[in-house]
């Protein structure tokens, strides 16, 4: 245990001098702030359109005014959370890859083995260091997200908002830990660093972008600009009744989506922040009832990745220079 902690500390010291860490924090921070700015501007544009429409209705003498667009402050974080989903996973892979590849490149595995009893200790020490690093990065993202919602979105931040954004941050931490563990396992198990890097890139592409994209594309409502059901002038309740006739198709589509940890992370985070309408303004107990299986799914994926990474430590000799 002690040697694992020593290696974790050594990894953190290494990472402190690595510019990529600052690039990651900067990119994610800017992406979150930018998304809040865009969402705020979009809301203001909608509000201006609404006010212009109300003025027209009033001038025409009609008594009917439509409902004003509502702003739920945490929904401003939607774009930012999507950037975390896409880019943080990529960064986690690159940092995880670098943690192992540098030992191969420098030929320092034998040196590390003089301080640790096994390859598993080395790998777990590195992962512990990465876990601490990502906890710090996610904490910073939570602070940036709350500050931008308050300062740019003009929202009042209470305990309720802090708790939800923090919960999304914890979900993000589990999510990036999964990707770091995958990167560490694949890099340790692959003899060729370039092969490992490209395998990780393909994994990221398939899990983060391709699988969710297929699910999204297969959604009948996404087939027409503005939505199929809206184009056919069908109410939400009727939409559900119609889709009940296509449960096999919807189940296949949903099954495909939840096979990606990215989608599990997205669904939980969107529910927690009230981005998905069904969960907007609901209690955490209600949200848990609707999303606990996504949490269990993401935890199972992460546990499997950590187990694989620990097991890959037995093949640490592949990192020795030939």
């Amino acid at each position: 245990m002690n040697e694992t902690l020593t290696l974790a500390r050594k990894e953190l010291l290494d990472l402190r001098h690595d510019r990529i860490v600052w690039i990651v924090l900067g990119t994610l921070g800017v992406a979150v702030v930018l998304s809040v700015i865009v969402a705020s501007l979009d809301y203001r544009a909608q509000l201006a359109d609404y006010e212009a429409y109300v003025a027209q209705v009033t001038a025409s003498g009609s008594g009917v005014t439509p409902a004003a667009p509502q702003l739920f402050p945490l929904t401003l974080l939607r774009g930012g959370m999507e950037y975390v989903e896409v880019l943080a996973a990529l960064f986690a892979l690159m940092i995880g890859y670098g943690a192992i590849a540098k030992e191969r490149s420098r030929g320092t595995v034998d040196l590390l083995l003089t301080r640790a009893r096994s390859g598993t200790s080395i790998v777990m020490g590195k992962l512990a260091g990465l876990a601490v690093l990502w906890a710090a990065i996610m904490a910073a993202i939570v602070v940036i997200a709350l500050a931008s919602v308050a300062m740019i979105g003009g929202a009042t931040i209470g305990l309720h908002e802090v708790a939800r954004v923090a919960l999304a941050g914890v979900a993000g931490w589990v999510y990036v830990l999964f990707w770091s563990a995958v990167a560490v396992a694949v890099t340790t198990l692959t003899r060729n660093s370039t092969g490992a890097l490209l395998t990780l890139l393909v994994a990221w592409l398939v899990v983060v972008l391709v699988i969710p994209q297929i699910g999204d594309t297969m959604d009948p409502d996404n087939q027409v600009p503005g939505g199929l059901f809206k184009a056919l002038a069908i109410a939400k309740t009727d939409e559900h009744a119609v889709l009940d006739h296509f449960t096999a198709y919807e189940s296949a589509r949903n099954g495909l989506e939840v096979s990606s940890i990215s989608k599990l992370y997205e669904r939980f985070t969107f529910a927690t922040l009230g981005i998905k309408d069904t969960y907007n303004g609901q209690s955490l107990a209600f949200i848990w009832d609707g999303t606990f299986r996504y949490v269990y799914g993401a935890l199972a994926f992460t546990a499997a990745a950590l187990t694989l990474a620990a097991a890959s430590g037995r093949r640490i000799h592949t990192l020795r220079r030939s």
């Binding site: 990529i20 990119t27 992406a31 930018l34 998304s35 865009v38 969402a39 501007l41 979009d42 203001r44 544009a45 201006a48 359109d49 939607r78 999507e82 950037y83 989903e85 896409v86 880019l87 990529l90 690159m94 670098g98 590849a101 191969r104 490149s105 420098r106 060729n192 660093s193 370039t194 092969g195 890097l197 490209l198 395998t199 890139l201 393909v202 592409l205 398939v206 972008l209 391709v210 994209q213 297929i214 999204d216 594309t217 297969m218 009948p220 996404n222 087939q223 027409v224 600009p225 199929l228 184009a231 056919l232 002038a233 069908i234 009727d238 009744a241 119609v242 889709l243 006739h245 296509f246």
Partner: protein
């Protein structure tokens, strides 16, 4: 001229021998093959949904999928080109640039009386030929799969449209390959050399269109194009940033060729994609990288 041709031939041989990017190439070809089926299955389901809605008396609107062109099934391919194809091209570019550095032969080549620009142009020519071959394979796969789904060979105009889509696809891919070559030549580590074009791709594909349309980043991966926001700051931003939204222009030009609904001017969009390819190639050939000729270290 002989330097260019020799370098191009070497690039082709070396790219085919390097097995590491095969997984990306396989993912690209596999998803292009699957995308036509996904498009067909989805449109069959949507038509069934429409029939159900009509039987329930819930709408009087016409079926939005009546008389859609067979090329409608190809529209998902557009997304896989900009998603997997661009990254595959950038990766091939990075690997091409890193090959000599990893073999530690870059300095040796530097001692020979070879024009560096001709050498780089030759390598890009080789990469361009490789990408043209891959794009050609995807177009053949697309033609065969759509013909199989509609139960007969596609017409000459539809075949020409697929060929036109192949040209615009090649332009996008060679542009990203140029960015990859530049990144591989300028950055010291393999990891950052690969990360830089991916981040550049993310900025082009997500951030710039988001600033102009207020769209959510992931929704930009839907083949249904998003109209630009025309109010407030978005109107100004979308005009300023429009030339940089390369992937959105690729979607617009492809949608016009594939007879899908599109926003904007397809010809202008195609020209912007071509300009992107020219600029990326020119930068990859002309920019010198004397400081990073050594091997890569993590």
């Amino acid at each position: 001229m002989s330097t260019i041709l020799t370098a191009a031939r070497h690039e082709l041989l070396a790219s085919v021998r390097a097995k590491a990017p095969y997984a990306l190439v396989a993912a690209f070809l596999g998803m292009v093959a699957a995308s036509t089926f996904i498009g067909w299955r989805t449109s069959v389901t949507v038509t069934s949904i429409y029939d159900q809605v009509l039987a329930d008396g819930l709408t009087t609107q016409p079926n939005p999928f009546t008389d859609v062109s067979p090329l409608y099934y190809v529209r998902n391919t557009v997304i896989y080109v900009l998603l997997i194809g661009s990254l595959m091209a950038a990766t091939l570019g990075v690997q091409s640039a890193l090959r000599d550095r990893k073999a530690e032969t870059a300095a040796l080549i530097g001692t020979r009386p070879v024009d560096g620009r001709a050498l780089r142009a030759g390598r890009l020519l080789g990469l361009g030929l490789l990408l043209a071959a891959l794009v050609g394979i995807t177009q053949i796969i697309t033609w065969i799969s759509v013909s199989a789904l509609v139960g007969g060979p596609l017409s000459a105009s539809e075949t020409l449209a697929i060929a036109g889509f192949g040209v615009i696809t090649w332009l996008l891919l060679i542009g990203f390959a140029g960015i990859g070559v530049l990144s591989g030549r300028l950055l010291r580590r393999e990891r950052t050399a690969l990360l830089a074009p991916v981040v550049a791709w993310a900025v082009i594909a997500f951030v710039i269109p988001q600033l102009g349309t207020a769209a959510r980043p992931v929704s930009l991966l839907n083949p249904v194009p998003l109209p630009a926001q025309d109010s407030g700051a978005f109107s100004w931003l979308s005009q300023v940033l429009s030339p940089l939204a390369i992937t959105e222009h690729f979607k617009t030009a492809s949608a016009a060729l594939l007879e899908s609904s599109s926003t904007g001017s397809p010809l202008a969009s195609a020209l912007i994609v071509a300009l992107f390819a020219c600029l990326a190639l020119a930068a990859a050939v002309l920019i010198r990288a004397d400081r990073t000729t050594g091997g890569t270290h993590e």
